[in-house]
């Protein structure tokens, strides 16, 4: 093979054990981040689209039985899930005598489901924030360590020329580059998901009382 060790792989092969460990950690971070990004992207998009479709049907038909039947089609939407929770609670009450108490119980069920839905939709997303915040620092740690080793080598060879200093530094900078490569997509995805999740949570807050009132009115 080519004797000159140019390129990223040449630098990685010359790296020390700590730098290699850091690179492995960053690789793992990157893999998990991308898995979360792909998984959440699908989940959030589905939730938004199904919620929008359910709301259209909800405002079109004011019959709770029909709405409930329609909501069964939207298994991944947040709003249909919350509505189903309220409806199920209402049916569990049976014959209602005290309307105030029935309203309170349905409202509680709806709120509980809204909270659960909010947690479900925002799960794993904080990991993206963790990667986005820590990966550059982990990479930087590897770089600092690599530069320390490089300076030791410079001391041994007793030469401070650019040719003696540059290879060690470029080798060390691989860790920072890997950290940034893991962090940048994670930060972008985190910002996107927080925005979308905020939107879903606003919908849940806004339409939960509406669901309760519709259920009680039907009763």
């Amino acid at each position: 093979m080519h004797d000159s060790k140019l390129g990223i792989f040449g630098l990685i092969s010359d790296a020390g054990p700590l730098v290699l460990f850091i690179l492995s950690v960053l690789l793992l971070f990157s893999i998990v981040s991308w898995a979360i990004i792909a998984y959440k992207f699908g989940a959030v998009r589905k939730s938004l689209s199904e919620s929008a479709a359910f709301l259209d049907y909800f405002f079109e038909v004011y019959n709770t039985e029909k709405i409930f039947a329609e909501s069964e089609r939207y298994r991944n939407g947040s709003l249909p899930r919350v509505f189903r929770a309220g409806y199920v609670e209402l049916r569990a009450l049976g014959q209602v005598t005290d309307m105030k108490q029935a309203k309170a119980r349905v409202a509680r069920a709806v709120k509980r489901e809204a909270n659960a839905e909010s947690k479900r939709i925002s799960s794993l997303v904080p990991f993206l924030a963790t990667v986005g915040n820590t990966a550059p620092f982990i990479g930087l740690f590897g770089t600092v360590w690599g530069i320390m080793s490089s300076f030791q080598n410079i001391g041994l060879t007793q030469s401070a020329s650019l040719a003696a200093v540059a290879p060690g530094i470029s080798e060390a900078l691989i860790a920072t580059a890997a950290g940034l490569a893991a962090a940048i997509p994670a930060v972008i995805a985190y910002n996107y998901f927080t925005h979308q999740i905020d939107s879903i949570e606003r919908d849940l807050e806004e339409f939960s009382p509406e669901f309760v009132s519709v259920c009680i009115k039907e009763q």
Binding site: L6, G10, A38, V88, S159, S161
Partner: protein, 275 residues
């Protein structure tokens, strides 16, 4: 409601994405590795066109001075003294050693001299005949002196005309001999010993060659270090300079008394010294 089943299903989905992400990373890394190897292969192809110079050009170069003080080669090529044409300098230089010029120019020059002499003698005789023979003894002595003078000129050649003017004997260049020169091998070993250079500090050894020649005084002192070609790595250049400075004084030049200095060339590569 099947609340318990839902997270299980989502977990499975997430694991599937996890595997997909891992495969994607493996694919990207493999692709990068493949591109890197391919790029490396391209570099190797260009490296085939690599010329290694063994000898150093200029006065005192190793190959040029392999026969120190060879006056014969200088004498044989009077045309060499003339400026060679710029169109075919290599061919002319290559042809010079093949040409055997067995003193023909010398003969032609010396042949021309007797005719002048006879003409002069005739002139002198005529003038002597015209004049009264006042002092025949002085005329004879003058003729004999002229004959002697012409004879010596014919034997040695004219100043600046003949190729055998002794330039080779008093030439400035003093070579170090061929590759197998024991003195050169000895000093190369000394320099190699004093050369502190770590190959591991070089990421790229492509084109890392330093052509350097040193001027060694008869007592072995390194008088001058000349870089004929520097490497891109300043670290390698400086390590070579340090090694040469550290090696001074070298062993005395064998038979080098009276010479202004011995020029020896070396090629330093990360693999070692090429003599």
């Amino acid at each position: 409601m099947n609340r318990g089943l839902y997270p299980l299903r989502t977990d499975r989905k997430f694991y599937a994405w996890l595997v997909a992400a891992a495969l994607m990373h493996v694919l990207v890394i493999t692709l990068s590795l493949f591109i890197w190897i391919w790029e490396s292969g391209r570099h190797v192809k260009t490296r085939v066109v690599n010329v290694t110079f063994v000898s150093l050009p200029g006065s005192g170069g190793a190959s040029q001075v392999s026969e120190p003080g060879s006056a014969e080669t200088r004498e044989q090529s009077p045309q060499e003294a003339k400026a060679p044409s710029l169109t075919q300098p290599v061919e002319q230089v290559a042809q010079v050693p093949q040409k055997k010029l067995p003193e023909e120019p010398l003969k032609s020059k010396t042949d021309a001299k007797p005719s002048d002499l006879t003409r002069t003698l005739e002139k002198l005789k005529q003038s002597a005949d015209r004049k009264t023979q006042v002092s025949p003894s002085s005329l004879n002595s003058a003729l004999s002196a002229l004959k002697q003078k012409v004879g010596t000129q014919g034997a040695t050649g004219g100043p600046g005309q003949g190729a055998g003017s002794g330039r080779g004997a008093s030439g400035v260049g003093f070579g170090s001999g061929g590759i197998a020169d024991p003195y050169k091998a000895q000093i190369a070993m000394i320099i190699q010993k004093n050369w502190e250079f770590s190959k591991s500090m070089m990421r790229n050894s492509f084109g890392m060659e330093v052509y350097v020649r040193i001027n060694i005084l008869p007592d072995g002192t390194v008088r001058e270090i000349v870089y004929d070609k520097r490497s891109p790595s300043e670290y390698l250049n400086m390590s070579v300079k340090k090694a040469l400075e550290k090696s001074s004084p070298l062993p005395a030049v064998p038979g080098g008394q009276g010479n202004p200095g011995l020029w020896i060339g070396f090629v330093f590569t990360p693999e070692g010294i090429e003599k």
